[in-house]
Structure formats: structure tokens, C-alpha cells
């Protein structure tokens, strides 16, 4: 019974202009458009593709957070996931939630659901941590195929082509394993209208981190959030000599 867990995170939509809260404790999220993390969309697409190719039987979409994350799970269901799990985290716990807590939740769920694969996006566009996949694999003591740009299932093993600084690296790992999706892995499908309607009938189970034996205490405290410094105007120079003189005066060279 081959099952895949896919993690989907509800983040501020990529097109929104982010604003820092006046008290510098974080960014403004109230009334701001949210959507599924783009790398999570790619992860969902890959899982659904594997199911269509009949390598796996069931895709379970998982998200952690308050009630609103069920919207994100519904989108995953509309893209083709079979059912969803909503791990309820709210208030201070949600604000402090980070890769460590998420990976503990996913590790517990992967064992509970007897998953053969856990597929996540490589990182979220809000915190850019790029840690959850790796931590989840470590907690489970499972092999990991991160920054995947191509995934092929070969019997009990997975061939993963990874995007690395030097180019592409191909590895073969045993299942069960954790994969994280990179940009070029696939192009996520639109949820078709009929699928959006069908998704309403699919089940989303609710549970709390405590039900999975996970403690949500954060070891990280955010002290301050600031906007990047405003770009200063540049200076135009007439000749190369002027440029060199200015760079020297600036202390750059």
C-alpha cells in the first residue's frame, strides 16, 4: 500500500508587496493575500504524477497551522491529492512554528501513515529556510533527495537528479525517503473546475501536534524584523578614470 505524504504551506502570495509591522515583530499578514507555497505546488504535482503513473496508491496532503490552512489543503485536493490532514496550530505556537517543529510533525505522520515517500517543497518563500526536508529525513533516519529536478521510481529505489551549484547530481536512494522539490521538477497543473468541485467531498482529518507526541516549543526567538535598506541612488561618471578615482575615494579599492 504505497502512500505519499505531501507537505503544503500557506504563505503570503509571491506577488504581494511585503510590509513590516510597525513594532518590527514580523510582517503584516492580516487581510493580505495568501496562497500555496510555489515549491509545495511543485511537490503536489509530482506526487499526483506518481499516482497517475501508478507508482503509488494514495497522496495525502498535510498542512500545519490555523483554520485558514484548510484552504491550502483544498487546493492540493483539487490538484489530485486523495485526502488531507490538518494539524492544528494557532496563536503563539503558530507564530513561533519553524522547520524543527514541522519536521517533527511530518516524521510522526510519516510513521503513522506508513508513508513510502515524503515530498516537500525545497523551501518556503516566506522564511527561505530550506531545512524542513533535511530535518525530517534525519529524524526518520531516511535517505533524502533534495533540490530534486527529476524523480524516477525504480522498484524499491528512487533515482533523483539534484540541482547543485556545480550542475546536476544523480543519486539513487532507497525508499522510504524524503524528497524536496526544486523549481524545474515540473509545471504544476491548474486545478480544473470539476476537480475543485470534487475536492469538496474529499476528507480532511484534523489533529493536534500533541496527538502526534510533538512538542511545539521553539528554540528560536525572533528579536526584530526590518525592511532591507532602501536602495540609494547611484552616481554616473564620465570616464573610466573617474570611476577608478571614485572607487578609491569610497574605499572600495
Amino acid at each position: 500500500m504505497s502512500r505519499v505524504l505531501v507537505g503544503v504551506k500557506r504563505v503570503i502570495d509571491y506577488a504581494v508587496k511585503i510590509r513590516v509591522k510597525p513594532d518590527h515583530s514580523g510582517v503584516v499578514t492580516d487581510g493580505v493575500k495568501h496562497s500555496m507555497n510555489p515549491f509545495c505546488e511543485i511537490a503536489v504535482e509530482e506526487a499526483v504524477k506518481l499516482k497517475e503513473k501508478k507508482f503509488i496508491k494514495e497522496v495525502v496532503a498535510v498542512s500545519c497551522g490555523p483554520t485558514q490552512v484548510t484552504e491550502t489543503i483544498r487546493t492540493a485536493l483539487a490538484m489530485g491529492c486523495d485526502r488531507g490532514i490538518h494539524v492544528e496550530v494557532s496563536g503563539k505556537d503558530y507564530e513561533a512554528m519553524g522547520p524543527l517543529q514541522i519536521s517533527k510533525i511530518f516524521a510522526a505522520l510519516a510513521k503513522k501513515e506508513e508513508a513510502s515517500l515524503v515530498i516537500l517543497g525545497k523551501q518556503a518563500i516566506d522564511d527561505d529556510c530550506n531545512q524542513t526536508g533535511q530535518m525530517t529525513a534525519a529524524l526518520l533516519d531516511w535517505p533524502q533527495g533534495t533540490f530534486a529536478s527529476e524523480v524516477t521510481i525504480d522498484g524499491e529505489k528512487v533515482k533523483v537528479v539534484r540541482e547543485i551549484d556545480g550542475g546536476l547530481e544523480t543519486i539513487k536512494i532507497s525508499m522510504p525517503a524524503v524528497l524536496t522539490a526544486d523549481l524545474r521538477l515540473n509545471t504544476p497543473r491548474y486545478a480544473t473546475l470539476p476537480n475543485i468541485m470534487k475536492a469538496k467531498k474529499k476528507k480532511i482529518a484534523t489533529m493536534k501536534p500533541a496527538d502526534l507526541g510533538v512538542d511545539m516549543v521553539s528554540r528560536v526567538e525572533v528579536l526584530r524584523v526590518d525592511e532591507p535598506p532602501t536602495r540609494l541612488a547611484g552616481v554616473k561618471v564620465e570616464t573610466v578614470d573617474d570611476l577608478v578615482a571614485k572607487l578609491k575615494a569610497n574605499g572600495t579599492i
Binding site: 487581510g31 495568501h34 510555489p38 485558514q68 484552504e71 518563500i125 523549481l183 491548474y190 473546475l193
Partner: protein, 422 residues
Amino acid sequence: MLFNKALRGGVQSVLRLQSTSAAAVAATSSQNAPSTGFCFEMTDQQKEFQELARKFSREEIVPVAAAYDRSGEYPFPIIKRAWELGLMNSHIPEDCGGMGLGIFDSCLITEELAYGCTGVQTAIEANSLGQMPVIIAGNDFQKKKYLGRMTEEPLMCAYGVTEPGAGSDVAGLKTRAEKKGDEYVVNGQKMWITNGGKANWYFLLARTDADPKCPTSKAFTGFIVDADSPGILVGRKELNMGQRCSDTRGITFEDVRIPKENVLIGEGAGFKIAMGAFDKTRPPVAAGATGLAQRALDEATGYALERKTFGKLIAEHQAVSFLLAEMAMKVELARMGWQRSAWEVDNGRRNTYYASIAKAFAGDIANQVASDAVQVFGGNGFNSEYPVEKLMRDAKIYQIYEGTAQIQRLIISREHFSRFKK
């Protein structure tokens, strides 16, 4: 999907930011009357439909709209994509393979598609118009045969009522259908038929009673006609001012034989069917005009926040900001117009009054807003390198088709007086 494209340096689209309400999940469907009275909140499903249509429109229609406008080529690839995503043929009942969506939900989709290109949207909408008589008046056999096939492959259909000599005056149409045994033989000419050259079948309105004294309510019959019937001559594609990728043609019927099984309801019932369809198709047309107006407003606003004159952004000059404010007023009210008329018909009420108001108002403001958008762009607005001149050309037809602005006023005044007298 949008994020990928953005990273790959793709589409530059003006996205309307719409905040996801943090409030609790709303009621289940637009069919249930809300208990707290008026409600402007959409259901989660409606939001998802709108989101899908919006993404599709911004990503796949906007980038190619100008090219289709210049070439006039039928946008079949886009139509096929829309069909695959379930954005077309939304009214077809579930037992014929459709989604049986209400008018409100399909208007949501229509507005978003129209934002991308009203030429594309009109080609898609003509399907709904052609199908509506069959949906409201067809028997099971007719529905399964002609609606079923629309969900199995991306086929087009058309609504054939207008003639060279009769547009607003539907009762003055001359196409004749004479009963001969088990068939009707049709002779006549239709004009300005959207999807005329691409349709797999037509809804046809023809006169079956030759007696000039016969009342309108009994003289006409509605038929479903297969487009490959011998005797149908499809005219040339008409070159129009706007919505140029939409296929509009004259169709001639020369001794075309239609089996009696293809009569809708019965002989003489045609006029009522043809008119009844409008109550359901006028709200989407109003939604289409609203989508165009919103696009014009967004383009003009974006430009006003970039272009500088006399030392500041043109948006900071009150002449321009007031213009944009009035454009915004019109767009918001046009939207509420189609929403009300769609909601009324979805709740089982006769919505003729609201549908006419919605269509008349949206058609008029679409023209005003598009023209104002060109004005905001100044000299650039007149030029084909900028998107607004196309909007102005596309907008005009909204005051003409699906009941002219003048006919709408006739209908509204008649409805208004009958309400007043109650």
C-alpha cells in the same frame, strides 16, 4: 504556476490584489439565501473558481490576446484549454456530463476571462447562449444528444436568431420553416452569428406560421440544427471593429431539412424560448463587459502611477485621479449589477428587470471606461503597442449584441412601469 513564470522572466500581468478573508468559512452555496440578509461574501468554492479563471486568464489569455486581435485567427488553442479546465459549458446539467453551475458562478468565470480578452470570452460565451434554449426547453433526448457531446469534446455551438433584416425586431424575422411530413424545410438567412463558422450545431429560430396575423407567441419555432446539414451555406468571416478573433458570419439556409425530433417543445413555442434564454445569458454578458472595464481601469491605473508630467506622476494630478475614481465607481456598480441579476435568477426568480439593467449599464460603462483609459494613456493610448485601444474597440459591441442599449431601455421601462402599477 505564476511564481514559476515570474522566475523564468515571463508574463507581466497586472494582478488585482484580493485579500483572503480571515473570517470563518462562509455558507455552502450561492443557492441558499443567507440568513443575515444581504451578503457580499462568496463561498470558498466560488473563490476557488474565480482564482482558477483569473490565473488562466492572466497567464494564458492576456499574453496572446493582442496577436489574435491583429490576425483575427480563431483562438481555438485557448478555447480548448479552457474546455479542459472546465471553464466552459458550465450550465450543462450534470446528467449530460456538465457541472450544472448556477448563473452567478459562471458569471464569476466570465468576468475573469473577459479581463483577458473579450474576443476569446465571446467565443466561449456563444456556447452558453446557443445551449441555453436546449437547457431550458430541450427534452431528455435532445439534451443528451446535443449537450452531451459538448462535454465529450471541445465543440462549439451558435445561437441563430438575428437576420440581415431583423435584429432587435425578432418578431420580424423571415426565415421560414415549413412542415413536410416528418421534417421541416428551412429557407432564409441569418447574420452576425457568433461561432457561425465553427459551430457543430445551431439553435435556430424560424417562422413556422406564414399567416401575418398569427401572434408572435405562436408563430415561431425553435430548432436544433446540425451544422453539417445539407443546404447550410456558411458565409465569410466578418471583419469587425473589435473582438476580432471571435468568428462572426452570415449563414444561409437553402432547403435545409430538420427532423421533427429537433423541435424544441413544439411548433410555435420558439419565441418564448429564444427570449427566455436571455434572462440567463444577459448577466454573463454584463459580467464580460465588467471584466473589460476592470482591465481598462487596471491598465490606466498602472500607467498613471508610472507616467510623469509637470514634475509629478499623472496619478497625482486631480484631473487624472478624478477620472480614475469615476472609472472605479462605474466598474464596482457594474459588478454589483450582474451579481444581483445572477443571484435573482439562481434563486428561482424572474430577473428580467435586473438582467436588463445589468447588461445596459455594464455595456455603457465599459465603453466609457475604455475610452477614459485611452485618455489616461494620452498619445500612447491611441497606439496599438499599448493595450487600451483594443479595449475601446472591443467594448462597443456590448452596447449592441444580446439586446441593444435601446432595447434594454425599452425592457427596463416596461418592467419599471409594471412594478410601479402593482
